[in-house]
């Protein structure tokens, strides 16, 4: 646990790093722009030829990356807090799969307009969460049963996704499968605006519930002893996690492991108090996704590696490290 006086020592460098990455991300690409020019253009007094590239092409992509990273990280934090399981994340309990299924079905079978996708995906994630909730309910909700039921439901969703990809037109399937890996490629303002309200509403909402999360962390008995309605609180928190994960998956596909890694890193940095943990995790999540996207764009340029693939490559080994650490201390 870090004394609160020292918190700026952690947050200020992170924010600076984030700002630097944003400028770097916007400056890099087929047409590189110097850091100073990028900054000038962002602040509104840049050269006109830079303005178009910066504002129309690269800024929305970067903002979406930030939003998605923060949302997934906070969704992961909420889920880990609700299930008391450090390994829970939107991916493990099937939220990503549900949102993915809805969106892939929408792409492959229904060919719906783009701005419906967040709603479809949110619906999918919500449906999975509800199913999880109902099926895991047996004289109360055990978070453990919920994780297990979620694994089962995720498998069914994956099966249905496979059915969708096998039955569809190959061009749409290709599009859906790139999207499924999680990519910020070609994201523009038309993706950004429908997504923005979700971030603006649910990120602060999650933060407002941080006291409740601390209470849940004490265990059911202690929390209800303190007068907290445990089941009601869990439902609300789950709803927020679903909204964050669902809308993010809809916007950028399944960018895996951010929801697992960011909360963990945040916890090692600032400890378990959710009022500080949630913003830190959001910051780290945004940082991770931006860094992954930057790496994906530059490593094999001009070929672009989907950013979800990079986060999986980083997140997977990190998770293995977590497991080994837990195994050694078991």
């Amino acid at each position: 646990m870090i004394p609160s006086k020292l918190l700026p020592l952690i947050h200020i460098p992170l924010l600076l790093l984030l700002g630097f990455l944003v400028v770097l991300q916007i400056g890099t690409g087929e047409y590189p722009i110097a850091l100073g020019d990028t900054l000038a253009s962002l602040l509104g007094f840049g050269l006109p030829e830079h303005d178009f590239i910066v504002h129309t092409l690269r800024l929305p992509r970067t903002l979406i990356g930030l939003g998605v990273g923060a949302s997934l990280a906070v969704a992961g934090t909420l889920l880990q807090g609700v299930t008391l399981n450090p390994l829970a994340s939107p991916g493990v309990i099937g939220l990503n799969a549900g949102a993915g299924l809805a969106a892939v079905a929408a792409i492959v079978w229904l060919d719906v307009p783009l701005n419906w996708l967040p709603w479809m995906a949110f619906g999918g994630a919500l449906l999975v969460a509800l199913l999880c909730y109902i099926l895991a309910w047996k004289q109360g909700l055990s978070p453990i049963r919920m994780v297990l039921v979620g694994i089962g439901i995720a498998a069914i969703c994956q099966g249905l996704i496979t059915v969708a990809t096998l039955s569809g037109n190959i061009r749409l399937v290709q599009q859906a499968s790139i999207w499924m890996t999680g990519s910020l490629y070609g994201r523009s303002w038309e993706h950004f605006w429908p997504y923005l309200p979700w971030v603006l509403v649910f990120l602060p909402l999650a933060w407002l519930f941080s006291k409740q999360l601390d209470l849940l962390g004490l265990g059911d008995a202690a929390a209800s002893g303190l007068g907290y309605r445990v089941h009601y609180g869990r439902s609300v928190l789950l709803g927020i996690a679903v909204a964050l994960a669902g809308s993010s998956v809809a916007t950028a596909g399944t960018i895996g492991f951010v929801g697992l890694v960011a909360p963990h890193l945040a916890r090692t940095l600032v400890g378990n108090k959710h009022a500080i943990l949630i913003p830190t995790a959001a910051l780290l999540g945004g940082l991770l996704v931006l860094a992954a996207d930057f790496a994906g764009r530059t490593v094999l340029a001009p070929v672009e590696i989907p950013c979800g693939l990079i986060t999986a490559m980083i997140g997977g080994p990190y998770m293995i490290y977590l497991l080994l650490r837990e195994w050694r201390s078991a």
């Binding site: 498998a155 994956q158 059915v163 190959i170 979800g308 998770m319």
Partner: protein
Amino acid sequence: MKKQFPLLLMGILTVIILFLASLSTGSLLIPLNTVWSALFGSHSSDHELIISSVRLPRTLIALVVGAGMAVAGVCMQALTRNPLASPELLGINQGAALAVVISLFLLPGSALWVSHAFAFMGAALAAGFILLLSSVGGKRLTPLKVVVAGTAVSLMLGSTTQGVLLLNERSIDEMRFWLAGSVAGKGLPQLLQGMPFIAIGMIGALLLGKRMNALQLGEDMAVGIGMRLESTKRLLFVLIILLSASCVTIAGPIAFLGFAVPHIVRGLSGPDYRWIVLHSSLLGAALLLLADVTSKVIIHPGEVPVGIMTIFMGAPFFIYLARRKEWKLG
């Protein structure tokens, strides 16, 4: 003991019936008497030719892979003493699948045994890791944690597989069916390649039945009654890898068979592993044949990959089990 022989007989009968059913179904429905005459060497009509050249290998594959996967699941649950363990839930199948995809990516057009060898390596790495966590020494993770860990490992391996496929567009189409778990379009060469390993694995499992029984008493007790603990564990480890790697090379990562079959069998036949192995191989074969028949008639004359059918059959069972028992986190 009394009920074992009737059970065995029933198993054999079911397998025979489903075997014939699988031969007669397909995009073209062939009457049973034609199936019968084809099986006894007549090749006079087109139908008989279809049976002997296309359907017989495919059905034999379903038979062998079903039995192999089920026995792999038995060994896995016996070794880890974890009722939720199985090669597909803990990422071993995905490890083999990723290795096969990598082998096709690095060495396109190479012989069958190359991808087989890769599959062995992939399965061994994934299995080694997960077994380290779940069964080595006094530091065992609880069944639940192992499953969550396995799911996360599977997710990571799965998204890496997707990534490798994206880098190589041509292979997406070829691999889609195989990755979903499929016995379609496979011939005798694939079967003969994997057959010896699967046979060794199954015979080995039968021979180890008594030791698996002892293992269930707990490690101290097992050593107390004179079992060589380490060699038993090592043998089981090798068997699991032989079985799951060979099955995956032939038919892709078919889900839930290795998980569900041992459970059902244990309910029917009791806790003696010598019988569980035997019954499981029959039930596994029967279930995969059933799944194959269903996959061929459900959107007749098209077909879905058999792996999808096993998900739809197995995942609800997994959820049912998750609900039935109280799982402990700590």
